[in-house]
Symmetry: C2
Subunit: 189 residues, 2 copies
Amino acid sequence: MTQVRAMRADARRNYERLLKVAAEAFAEHGEGASLDDIAKRAGVGSGTLYRHFPTRRALLEAAYVDRVEGLARRADELAERLPPGEALTEWLYELCVGTIQVRGLGSLLGSAMAGTEGGVTPTVCGTRVRGAAERLVSAARGSGSVRGDVEPVELLRLAYGVAGAAELGGGGGASIRRYLTLLMEGLRG
Amino acid sequence: MTQVRAMRADARRNYERLLKVAAEAFAEHGEGASLDDIAKRAGVGSGTLYRHFPTRRALLEAAYVDRVEGLARRADELAERLPPGEALTEWLYELCVGTIQVRGLGSLLGSAMAGTEGGVTPTVCGTRVRGAAERLVSAARGSGSVRGDVEPVELLRLAYGVAGAAELGGGGGASIRRYLTLLMEGLRG
DNA sequence: ATACCGTACGGAGGGAGTCCCCGGTTCGCG
DNA sequence: CGCGAACCGGGGACTCCCTCCGTACGGTAT
């Protein structure tokens, strides 16, 4: 439905430069990074930016789609290598790390995990990350590492919360592990 | 140390109007509410606002000091009425509710729970809320509802995280209770 | 009761940013 | 090589923050 015709070469160049610069800017300044500044740093006019990405959210999502899909693939990788419970915990850990270190990614994931009651159109990132969580959680249930009455999306939200908690403390990866462990102990089957 | 001399009557009036309006505005729009707008709604010029509260944080803190002290008193009240474990859980629940419903209060509490490693001057709100948590946690430890190796401030941060998680889902008080329960089960002695 | 002094007020205004649009210009596909 | 697609970058309309300074009013001393 998108992309009715191939992009012109310069358009494609600019598009990709914008994505790269945007990913950096959002990582550093969070969701609210200056769009004019992103355009400037990418060496394009602001008009060009708005033509490719009509809204801030569109740019944010495009900038991190790769990363989110990587996260989803990583889930399957971990599922193969580790026992179900550990795979889940490790994946949530990496999710938290991304949420904290890359600030814009955090808000993107946040809205991906938000409720979809009000007929909100599900985003690509949302479906990817939810799908990954479902696969890991159902395996973990089988092995008794997670109670049967905990929904995958609830776990995602709790992990998001853990990231928020760890961010306050500032203890880095160690405090994420700690908080996540405390949480997972409460979820055993 | 403050208040070397009584405020003039009009100054006091304005001061209090500002506090009231600011509490509403921060509750609705979060920490970033427009200061010009607050001044306007309070019927004062923006200069007056800045004279009383030199920074946004100063206003935010002044607007919610009462509420935070109320929360601290509430801790002692609950401690008298309920068994230690329940008192702690209930208090954390009420903390989460405030964090979510009153958005500005959320960010204030957030920074109150943040790390103080870098010689940050502890705020009034920070000491109050930490003090309350310490009293409740030490009682709860005695009764075995909380493991001995969990610091009060860690619990505060985790509760803050739970609030964030519950906010994503939008299930209101019920989801706070649920997430908090899941968490507390992992913390038993 | 009044006059004086200084505190506190108001709101205009400059600077910074954001978003979006427009007109002329350049690029590159066919 | 021609023409349409895409670019550039400046500018307008907005919002927000914060400072400044002439002015008004409250409190007090007479």
